[in-house]
């Protein structure tokens, strides 16, 4: 039954590599404006927004720069800035 194991996939981050390379715009977070509403966390499709000790952390290794976090933020605390 050893061959069966090859048919089963295991959960892993980065199935498509470091998708941060896909980015054209980068989300930049401003802690002073943040009201901790969790909207960015709830709607980030990539699940690369974390809120640790009341601070939003974005995992730039995988953030694809879609811009949704910036759009849903009611406090304008996330700005999309062109990558250089």
């Amino acid at each position: 039954m050893e061959w069966l194991k090859t048919l089963i996939s295991r959960p892993s981050k980065g199935v498509s590599g470091k998708t941060g390379y896909w980015r054209t715009f980068k989300p930049i977070y401003d802690r002073d404006k943040c009201v901790l509403c969790y909207e960015c966390y709830v709607y980030c499709p990539e699940n690369c927004v974390e809120i640790v000790e009341k601070v939003v952390k974005i995992d730039y290794d995988f953030c694809k720069g879609c811009g949704i976090c910036s759009e849903v933020c009611p406090a304008n605390a996330i700005e999309m800035v062109k990558e250089d």
Binding site: R10, G14, N47, F62, I68
Partner: protein, 284 residues
């Protein structure tokens, strides 16, 4: 909201993918097994030997999804079918069969209104007049109402939901998981490349659909009711103009005023029907 990361970062979904947002809701289920027929989600779930969905996933051919889920439900409690609108067109016979048997499964149709994974072909739920690669001049055919069709299978739970209102969707998934038998949720999932809008606008477009009355949130659990934000939009004067929702999407480019009027009439008819259901299927 008690959401855990179900879809791992670095997966193959496009920027702003609606399925990727919707999948988060499965994290409120206890030990679910997810059955996925062919579609974008198949790709998003990753490629052997790695997978990006951090739950047990069974990949199945189109028409077999509810049948496989039926089998699994004899051994497991929380079996979920996560399928697209195209898979629902093609696999409708087994979906219908599973519903009349009242199999103990939850089916979520994440509806991006076309066969996206194969290149934006029209489906039964593609919006009226929308351009797809198989309807280059705009859809001439009708749009079917999937959730109402499922409601008429007399199953214990049916709801519509939207990736623009995750709290409402999560509440419905939780509720469905507590009900034994066949549960159906029709999730509205605007797709940036397929509908031709910027990837940052997925949530906004989903909300515009609800605010314009084009997508209506409702639920049946023995009683039928309009839910969440949609309650406010029973009153037409509170809605945003339908043209605002249509204008942000490239798939509606070139619509005439008459086209918009035709769509508006269709939407009015849906609201009328739901109003009747709300006033008739009512235990209270």
């Amino acid at each position: 909201m008690d959401l855990r990361c179900v879809l791992l970062p670095g997966n193959p979904s496009c920027q702003g993918c609606p399925h990727a947002i919707g999948l988060k809701a499965l994290s409120v289920l206890e030990n679910p097994i997810v059955v996925v027929p062919a579609g974008c989600t198949t790709i998003i779930a990753g490629f052997n030997p790695k997978q990006s969905i951090d739950l047990p996933v069974v990949h199945v051919p189109f028409a077999s999804a509810p049948a496989v889920a039926c089998g699994l439900s004899k051994a497991y409690d929380n079996v979920v079918v996560w399928m697209g609108d195209g898979a629902t067109d093609i696999g409708f016979s087994t979906l219908s069969g599973s519903a009349i048997r009242n199999d103990n499964i939850l089916v979520v149709v994440s509806d991006n209104e076309a066969y996206m994974n194969t290149g934006i072909q029209m489906s039964g739920t593609t919006f009226w007049k929308a351009k797809t690669t198989t309807t280059p001049a705009g859809k001439r055919e009708e749009k079917k109402d999937l959730a109402l069709i499922m409601l008429m299978h007399r199953i214990p739970y049916v709801a519509t939901a939207s990736v623009g209102y995750m709290r409402d969707f999560v509440r419905k998934v939780k509720k469905a998981s507590k009900i034994k038998g066949f549960k159906f949720i029709h999730l509205h999932s605007p797709c940036p490349p397929g509908w031709r809008f910027d990837s940052s606008k997925t949530v906004e477009v989903a909300r515009m659909a609800v605010k314009s009355g084009a997508w209506i949130l409702w639920e049946y659990d023995g009683s039928f009711r309009i839910t969440g934000m949609s309650r406010m939009f029973r009153d037409k004067s509170k809605r945003i103009p339908l043209t605002e929702y249509l204008r942000v999407q490239g798939r509606f480019k070139g619509l005439t005023e008459e086209d918009v009027r035709t769509i508006e009439e269709r939407i009015d008819e849906v609201w009328k029907l739901l109003d009747v259901l709300e006033n008739t299927i009512n235990k209270a």
